[in-house]
Amino acid sequence: MKALIRLWELILERFHLKEFLEHPVPRFSSLNPLYWFGDVAAMSFFILAITGFALALLYTPGLSLTKTPPDPLLGHNAKEVYDATESYSSVYKITYLTPLGFILRQIHLWSAYMMIFATLAHFFAKFILGSYKRRGGGALWLLGVLLGVLTIGQAVLGYILPLHLDGILAIQIGLNLFRYFDYFGIPVGQLVLSVLGSLFVTDQVIKMIYVLHILIVPAIILVLLGLKINGILYGGVAPPPIKDEELRRKAMEEKEPFYPHRFALMVGQLLLQLSVILLLTAMTPLPLLEPWVPGQEVPPGVRPPWPVMWYYTYVKMIDPFISVGLPIFLVLFAMVVPLLDRKGGISIEERWVWVIIAIVYIAIIGYGTVLGFLVDIPKELTPLTRISVPPDYAVPYTGTPQAVGP
């Protein structure tokens, strides 16, 4: 044991890890739950990266049709056999025909949901704390908003990969969001479609989504996350929302070393997080859902998962001119918040207007999500149909598939 301790100390000393591990961290940030969600989101990202690596080894993107048995978690007739794409079939093999593959995929799915939930909670917490008001906080806020957008984007890309009906609904909704820019004369939808090279899902499109999901978007997230961690490491965390300056200064000065104090808490948090994910895997496993066959339209009963349910609800409820672009407005507004909320202190009673705005912001998302689960809005999903400029190039995945180009 003594030899092990000596070895550990030698590693710390020779790799100059002692300086990092012993850097002081404020005690209040370990104890206040408003400071925990960023860690949860970052940890989820690393869990996703590890499980995603294993899944990427087993997954095969492709549209060629194979016969696949029904999803046992959906409780179908055992004798039915479906036509399904190679993508769906490979996810079926991972989930149901590979030992421990079921656990692997469930950890990946639940971690993704946990990352999205933690990202939203982290955003809300930092909005309440006004963390962008400290020096360097604005840049970290901007990085956070970009990371949030990439997180949701990454989740949608991953959701498309098994090519189940819900995944096709996700690609439809996602592409319609890009088409919203076309309406204003900015050819974003056109650009995206020309990059995809097709008006419908092809082998090429699914390969592109796969590469985006496993390589490009995670690489960008990793770089931005590195910048963010670096900013927090050298710039410190957001000060506590206390009005009394003396008390706030005192809280900021009360510090503890990262190792072993905060380190023990972080390890505990990671283990607890994994424990919750595995418990969800055991208690409420997520099914693989119905397979999609190329050319098939998404039936009306298919609905998106909870992270994008709010958007789906509003697209069905409100005039598409307002609802389709809602995420764009929410992101743009989040980006300019540090520029608008400049005056006054950082305590909640001094910033009550902004706290109410933060609550309204999250309530928009929360209300749409809850409503989406409670009520099946009796209207077919037809984004942008009431907007008078639907150019031909901006009508993806509807009607008879037509190839673009030679």
Binding site: E22, R27, S30, P69, P70, P72, L73, H76, A78, Y96, L97, T98, P99, L100, F102, I103, Q106, E254, K255, E256, P257, P260, H261, R262, A264, L265, V267, G268, Q269, L271, L272, L274, S275, V276, I277, L278, L279, T281, A282, M283, P285
Partner: protein
């Protein structure tokens, strides 16, 4: 084609009850001991970790035997059987990680009581 091998081991239901019992007793014991002495809480956690690890190895053994059986996957019942054992394995892992998390957070709480500074 039906599954050619009959798995000889504890049924999924029995394994679930055994796991749940060990996990709940372990969690209560470790949580209770954390308020008395962290050192004893750690030893108790280690003991329950060992029992759960043995259960995990046993369950994983069943899973591999099932999945490598000739004809596995030809019926939905086989797959449901496999998924059930995998869910139990996930539950065991969850309990193991929960106990470790309790000890780790307990250590942090103790450091808080000791005051700011290094050991």
């Amino acid at each position: 084609m039906m599954l050619a091998v009959e798995i000889q081991g504890l049924s999924a239901t029995t394994l679930t009850y055994v796991t749940a019992a060990v996990a709940v007793i372990g969690a209560i014991s470790v949580y209770g001991l954390l308020h008395v002495d962290r050192r004893w809480a750690s030893y108790t956690a280690l003991l329950f970790e060992a029992v759960l690890a043995a259960l995990f190895a046993y369950t994983t053994n069943i899973i591999y035997a099932l999945y490598s059986a000739p004809g596995f996957g030809s019926t939905v019942e086989d797959v449901v059987h496999g998924v059930t054992y995998q869910r139990i394995a996930a539950g065991i892992l969850s309990a193991m990680l929960f106990l470790a998390a309790l000890v780790s957070i307990g250590y942090y709480m103790e450091l808080q009581k000791r005051g700011v500074g290094h050991e």
